[in-house]
Symmetry: C2
Subunit: 176 residues, 2 copies
Amino acid sequence: NVAHGLAWSFYIGYLKLVIPALEEQVRKHYNQTGENLHSSRLHILLPLSAVAPAKMEEEDHNVRFHQNLPEMQLDRAGVRGRVYKHSIYKITDHKQEPYYCVVEYATPLLTLYQMSQDRTAGFSKQDRRQQVLLFYRTLSHILECSLECRNRYRLILLDDQRADGDPHYLSTEIIK
Amino acid sequence: NVAHGLAWSFYIGYLKLVIPALEEQVRKHYNQTGENLHSSRLHILLPLSAVAPAKMEEEDHNVRFHQNLPEMQLDRAGVRGRVYKHSIYKITDHKQEPYYCVVEYATPLLTLYQMSQDRTAGFSKQDRRQQVLLFYRTLSHILECSLECRNRYRLILLDDQRADGDPHYLSTEIIK
Ligand SMILES: Nc1nc(=O)c2ncn([C@@H]3O[C@@H]4COP(=O)(O)O[C@H]5[C@@H](O)[C@H](n6cnc7c(N)ncnc76)O[C@@H]5COP(=O)(O)O[C@@H]3[C@@H]4O)c2[nH]1
């Protein structure tokens, strides 16, 4: 099952490396800018449609890119100084003050989406939603058992069917 | 099958993006340094053991890190300016002049290796070699059919059993 392997790859090749370092990056950001984030957890967006746009602003105008956190460099598999960085977003809401947090889509969903478009990948459009759910369940389970990552992330499942044309569905789900 | 999904992910999420840009990065490198590479193909190392060390020098002293190519930045799934970069290595051989090329291990093998170490991943150490071969076959097939990537890469299978203590197996295989 493709989603099972992609969830493991996302954890082993990324979350296990970056989540433990996040608190430090958020502290450095505060030292450099005086800005406090409302949460230092990594907010990970999981759209059931597997549609993960490059820019979140396209989904909801109440979500705006603020600034990147300081980057982390690691030697990985022969690439020297491979860069890992996260983006801080400012989420607005009429009632409350802006909510600053570190948020991004789960990039492996891009693979699920494109595999379902390619006839030779053996993966249909109908399979996609199922695979995103399997990705979510597998990843939740891995992260709950992970000492390095416990309590330092939030998985946010986005149901495009429930969103149903609500232009502020994304910001509402992130702030919840 | 985990390897099948990882090969697709490696192509869709990485090779399809970076390989077409490689020729341009190699040209920029020449403009900045006056150095020509012996090959502008991306050399991708696939050790059957799935062991992909951070630094190639540990495997063979005839392989030395030279410099990184200029980096490429892309907005991906909410991360602004995600960095993609490759390392140039200088490969020496007693008879010939040094061989400069862009080489790296296939990063997904790190996932295969670590999954085989984790009891909950459902993946045994015996499975590992089989999965690396499946990864190699799936990836070869995808790349052969890829218009964006054709003729711009080299897949180098490394058989630790054939290497058998030869301290220069890696450099020999890269230069071949
Ligand atoms: N050598 C190399 N250099 C790169 O810059 C790179 N970027 C991706 N990959 C490999 O390509 C494939 C597809 O990548 P994708 O982004 O969909 O998944 C990635 C992505 O969801 C996440 N991830 C890894 N690095 C980053 C990063 N810097 N920023 C955000 N997410 C990342 O964790 C997954 C697994 O990463 P890797 O296990 O390093 O291998 C990946 C993967 O096999 C790379 N390989």
